[in-house]
Symmetry: C4
Subunit: 266 residues, 4 copies
């Protein structure tokens, strides 16, 4: 019985029932996220908010059941540990903490008195449920591996972007502040402009109007393009390397000592 | 006779007449698309709208003729099937359905009475004719193959972008709603902002104005740049792999069993 | 004497005097372009416009001298042709035509009477001088080779972008026209919006306001990011292939028959 | 004693105390940059500006101590030179000049009388301190190496972008000036538009309104996407090449002379 349940709820299921479970959970999580969005609407019809309440109660019930089943079958997930240790190992694992945080905000107001302001924040914490999808994201394996491997180069190149933005924002504040004291009231406002320019978002709420400011702006915009190209290059190289490594096992290249000796000559 | 017609209208034609046919069809389709655009203009001179009508009638006549010829020569396209089966196989193929949908909206009002509203929609369906160009897009082969191969990684990374946008939009709605109740009236408005920011479009119709909102906005804009870099990296790696695979046949690397025995020693 | 002049003015010069000539010409062309920009200013001080006139006369004199020298030394550029043929071959070469177009607008008003409107256009044609820089752009060799090689894939993927834009603009015109009849008066206005969205420029002069329009806009913006990634991937793969091909000659991979026979055994 | 100090302050430290020193210096520099930003705020509370003054004095004291210690241990950095020469070699090195410029603006007003305007500029020069972080940026090694190697291709492709922008701005000025004399008053204003369009920033402060202007704008925006793809491709190829070169040492490919002789035959 426990074996069967585990075959259904475990990650990367092989059985049909396991795949149906995965698919249903994914659909339920997406439904939950849609209702977090819907709940932010002010003038909501009565029907919709009662549907939202039903979805919430049913979801939390199912998520709680899922959590308890996973806890129950934890000894099959970590067969090398004793049952009690296996359960503890499961409870402190990353995905289990997300699972718990996804249902806790529902039970909390029942246990301790909570004021309205914190209640609104608790409703926001429901968003954590999207991270439950991480369990079903098998395809992200490669992406995650590449990002992890290239993290040092990515972090250091992004740091240069941040440094460039800070230098740019102090300079442009110095140049534009006399002409636009409201828009560029401090280098922090200029930092907002620098982020919008370097990422090429360009909302158009703040932009330089003096000739010198426009020159700095143009340099930042062009440098921004170049600096955006660097993380892209790093990630591309990571994926190319990943594919090459995968191909290596069936590669046609050989080393000398891997070669069998040539056939004996009589 | 049928052989000759087939040599002209078949995909990837080898003969001169076939190439002229391909080129003429491409030109006719582009002309059609241009007239779909022109037809949306309100204050259209009389001459233009009568030209548009003539283009429509001539195009549908030619497209109908093309469809019938392709149906007639279907037994040469699928020589292994019996003529009737070959014709049926052709009719249910993707390109044939597009061909049919490209001419059907013209004939439909003649067959059944249709009100004006649906008539306007039918005129829109003429846009399907652009997909007829797919037949002549030989160069897209590589692009399509790469996208198909990398689809799982692309879909999973794009899903992360969508998740990030949803989280960002609920957060920014929570932060900006008190200051801009009209712009950020619900998380759906915030989602529109999140799409415009993460794709770096940045229309400037909605943007955060509170310090905390600007911090979230800056994080999203910077993460957006990083997340846009991931699909680019995946696609780049796909094209690199495609080129490498193509080069492999004339590769200078060898496997052991491909090695000729060393020259005999006397 | 002619040999010495040719050593100076020929492309990719090896001598010091040749490099000084290249550098001076580059500087002169950039000075010319700056003055084309300056000439567009309305309220120009008297001094500046007289400097501009002097720069123009001196530049044309030098460019004319350069053209005559190149014509004179054409028989050294094409040593296999007879002098007259060599000169003709030079005159009809791409760079020589650019050289001629760069000086012709100056001489034209002296030869035939020209009205003011065409005179303004002739001043614009001076911009052709920037293409003279092409002669000195040795580093562009790789870039040009990669773009040429990948042109079919680039053209076909860019065509898909254009098709997507046309479909998007007709759809959004249909959806947004009732709410914003001025902004989306025809699908051509919508096409301008589609270009700004797919390229992620996003000026913010036109944007959808209806829920359905925003959904179409979000899809286009996200697809736009993906479709921009494709040319980047194609070009990246082209550069990777270019570098790999360059490395192949000093590659550590070998074929069996390239191996010298093993040392004889006694 | 001097050996121990050097082990702590030298770049890429191996010891724990050296790593703590690196981390503390990085934190101090970031604190300094944050206070350069804070100092630009007009309505600053009294407490904050006095904290800023304290941070400045303490930082300069520590940076001065660091500079003197590095000068003192310079003979260990250049063991092959005589002490005096080693110190001189250190003083003229790039990082030492940055270190000096980072503290000089603090001491300058004590030495010579300086008016208020230059004093404000001196405060700006404190930004140079961010470049002190370069010392600790080990991860940037790869990025820097790739950019250096690909510099010629990057510079030449970026030059084409600049040329394209200049041509575009003169053309669009010619087309849009009659309709928008204020926005496109000279080709310099048009150049600002061209930068914002080609980099896809698109603030929306200037944009074409005439049909011909919109066509030029659309071409520039689409070409801009293509031209941004080129540096990305160049940088990607650089990183791929870097990774391949690193893998070469443990490559499974062999050269002939690396092959051991085949086993002797009896």
């Amino acid at each position: 019985m426990k074996q069967r349940v585990f075959a259904v709820i475990k990650d990367h299921p092989q059985t049909l029932s396991g795949r149906i479970f995965s698919f249903s959970m994914t659909a339920l999580i997406i439904l939950n996220v849609v209702f977090v969005l819907i709940d932010t609407m002010k003038s909501q019809p009565e029907t919709l908010s009662s549907i939202s309440r039903i979805v919430e109660v049913v979801s939390v019930a199912l998520f709680t059941l899922e959590y308890l089943l996973r806890l129950w079958t934890a000894d099959l997930l970590f067969p090398e540990s004793r049952p009690a240790v296996a359960r503890l190992r499961y409870v402190v694992s990353g995905m289990a903490i997300i699972d718990l945080l996804a249902i806790l905000p529902f039970y909390l107001p029942m246990l301790i008195p909570i004021d309205l302001r914190i209640l609104r924040l608790l409703r926001l914490i429901r968003l954590i449920r999207v991270f439950k999808l991480g369990r079903y994201a098998a395809g992200l394996g490669t992406v995650g591996r590449v990002l992890k491997k290239q993290a040092p180069a990515l972090v250091s190149s992004m740091s240069v972007v941040v440094l460039l933005m800070i230098v740019a924002s102090v300079l442009i504040h110095h140049v534009e502040n006399p002409s636009q004291p409201d828009q560029f009231d401090s280098a922090f406002s200029a930092l907002w402009w620098a982020v919008a320019t370097i990422t090429t978002v360009g909302y158009g709420d703040v932009y330089p109007i003096t000739p010198l400011g426009k020159i700095i702006g143009a340099v930042i915009a062009l440098l921004g393009v170049a600096l955006v190209a660097i993380p892209t290059g790093i990630i591309s190289a990571g994926f190319v390397d990943e594919i090459n490594t995968k191909h290596k096992s069936d590669s046609t290249c050989i080393t000398c000592d891997e070669c069998p000796p040539p056939p004996p000559i009589k």
